[in-house]
């Protein structure tokens, strides 16, 4: 329908990088055996080498050791495994209390809610108007029976970055394990586990032009964690299931392809978007923090306008942006993130998330802002709220 769809929803999913595909192909077509150890045949040993090289790349990116990385089917599995695995291991030794933030993405949030149904006690820590966690509340809520704290590194909708170091140190001091969902920050905002005492990190390939259905979990050596997915003895007996070697290799290649220069470029696109919108369109609110923000995210509420109308109008002009969380597409429920930072339903429903990726340009930003200017003024012209 359009020569080129301008895609500005790279936190939801990204176009695969051709170089990632090139890295995956040999493991689909040439070295397609299962990873085998010394007892297997050479194609399996070659496959294992490819898998372990990929593991090493992910580990290095975090300052971790290769044996601390487990490949999974994505962030959702990583977070399920981290939280359910740790609470199962610590149920008797520590207790049945966990702590999460109010802004977590669904994998963490709904795992916490499910545990609550099973009898666990869960505290949901508040955030301020920019989405930044209340560290004092966190400190006060950690108890002797707290098995795990799970606080995201970056928010999926408004891009707010937490002070991972401060949170990790609080947990470390109180001797409680700390998991973070780093899906929306991984590779874009450095994490170094050699200086930040985080115990578990969920990651996903799909936000950085890697393959879908592939993720990883960093598990600090010595962390008590039960196996969650039962079956074979893959991943040094921590995660069962035939290894997705092409996927792991593709994920590692995607990590290698992210550069500081690119991240700076995405930051410039983000800032330019916010700047133009705030200069040229009245009645707008930036959701999230101006400074503690992922490089790729701009989330703006256009007041007196419905986000759903905006996305539809933008779509008709060839732009893909999202409203609320991408995962909300099933419903018109208000985003728990915007509500969590003190926004009302009007603000939640009028919010638009732009997330920039490798294939975006300054021209894309100019085109989408020009389109939004027109659409917003058209929609406001017929809005009873705007005109009253």
């Amino acid at each position: 329908m359009f020569d080129k769809m301008i895609y500005l929803d790279n936190s939801a999913s990204t176009r695969l990088d051709e170089k990632v595909m090139d890295a995956m192909k040999p493991y689909y077509f040439d070295t397609y055996a299962v990873a085998t150890s010394e007892f297997g045949y050479s194609m399996g040993i070659d496959a294992k080498e490819g898998l372990e090289a990929a593991r090493g790349i992910i580990a290095t990116s975090l300052g971790a050791s290769a044996e601390e990385i487990v490949f999974t089917s994505g962030e959702t599995e990583s977070s399920n495994m981290a939280i359910k695995g740790v609470v199962a291991a610590l149920k008797k030794k520590k207790g049945e209390h966990i702590i999460v933030s109010k802004l977590e993405d669904f994998a963490v949030l709904n795992t916490a809610k499910n545990l609550e149904k099973q009898g666990y006690s869960v505290d949901y820590i508040s955030v301020d108007a920019e989405g930044i966690l209340d560290l004092e509340e966190l400190k006060s809520k950690i108890r002797d029976d707290t098995a795990l704290v799970s606080i995201q590194h970056a928010n999926q909708e408004i891009g707010t970055l937490q002070d991972l170091d401060a949170i990790a140190k609080i947990c470390k001091e109180k001797d409680v394990l700390f998991h973070t969902d780093a899906t929306h920050s991984y590779t874009r905002v450095p994490i170094d586990v050699s200086t930040t005492p985080v115990d578990l990190i969920s990651m996903s390939a799909h936000t950085i032009h890697g393959p879908r259905g592939v993720g990883a979990l960093y598990i600090r050596k010595g962390t008590p964690i039960n196996k969650w997915m039962d079956g074979g003895y893959q991943e040094t007996d921590r995660r069962a299931g035939l290894e997705n070697i092409p996927g792991a290799v593709g994920f590692a290649k995607a990590v290698e392809l992210v550069t500081e220069k690119e991240t700076e470029f995405l930051t410039s696109l983000r800032d330019y978007t916010i700047e133009r919108v705030f200069e040229e369109i009245p009645h707008v609110t930036l959701n999230g923090s101006k400074t503690q923000r992922t490089p790729q995210n701009a989330n703006i509420t256009f007041h007196y306008v419905e986000g759903e109308s905006m996305t539809l109008h933008l779509d008709m002009r060839g732009f893909a942006v999202s409203t609320g969380s991408a995962c909300f597409s099933r419903s018109l429920e208000a985003s728990h993130v915007i509500l969590g930072i003190g926004g009302d339903h009007e603000r939640a429903h009028g919010s638009i998330r732009f997330t920039f990726g490798r294939y975006n340009s300054k021209e894309d930003v100019d085109a989408v802002v020009d389109a939004i200017k027109e659409i917003v003024s058209q929609l406001r012209a017929i809005s009873p709220l705007y005109n009253k």
Copy 2:
């Protein structure tokens, strides 16, 4: 090292079919958005159409409805989800007893063992010398508090096919849910859920030249099953996690590419292998059934010879076959399958599994049998057991 490795381990993993890659590519490079409903943008709606078309193809292959198919990361996840999801849903309503066979692959077997540790009661049903389930024992073990029976359709090592219809009907009569792991039969041996009252079926793409890290679970409409992977509301709120749309589309294409003619060809390779080995090599035993057997599997014990030596020697000549279960590659433990059919450690360790796939030929069989003849006679010549 070789111009062409002759790969005869297609139950462990398969070479991707180029046509599968061609089907996946548009969802990596053009329609890479998340699947969205009517509230999303058009690229997401196109992505959803691709996903739903793939679901329809899997459903049709089983005589099921599309809404009865859930995509997963593979058989291991499917079986974890099926078993853990059903027992969680029926814990209070039915009870904490489950039944599996002694020959299950690790996803089912180790899930059962894990549940046992948690206090569930598990019965492991015996099989005869060919690996065929004792139906009378199954009947006698079903109790009022039995939540689930999980019996594989085809064995991963010896290829024995169970009488799925008979098992399903026993379960139906006794009003107990029935799950089957069909990883090694799916598409090669028909299953029709409209006539066979099976409630849950685990499937995987990796055995039929589809992508790694992709599987599905058939869930008969109305089956009580709790969500196992918590998070977003994907897969009609039955399995959280960003959909792997390229993977699902590739799986569906792999299903479409399997033809009856190809399956007949694999059967002929299997039979020709067994025939030549039995005519030309003394002291051999066929593991599994001669007739109730998957088309692609030949599993033979070469007595007085170690399977590990055989696979290494074959590897040096450019042939990939496996000994024991592929998943055993981590260790030299004897296969529970060969022990389960009454074999001893010697028989288990001397067993070689050939599994044929799309890229094998009659010439491959001739070459591997010629090689085995030589290797077996060399190894037997130095075997103290053979020469005593």
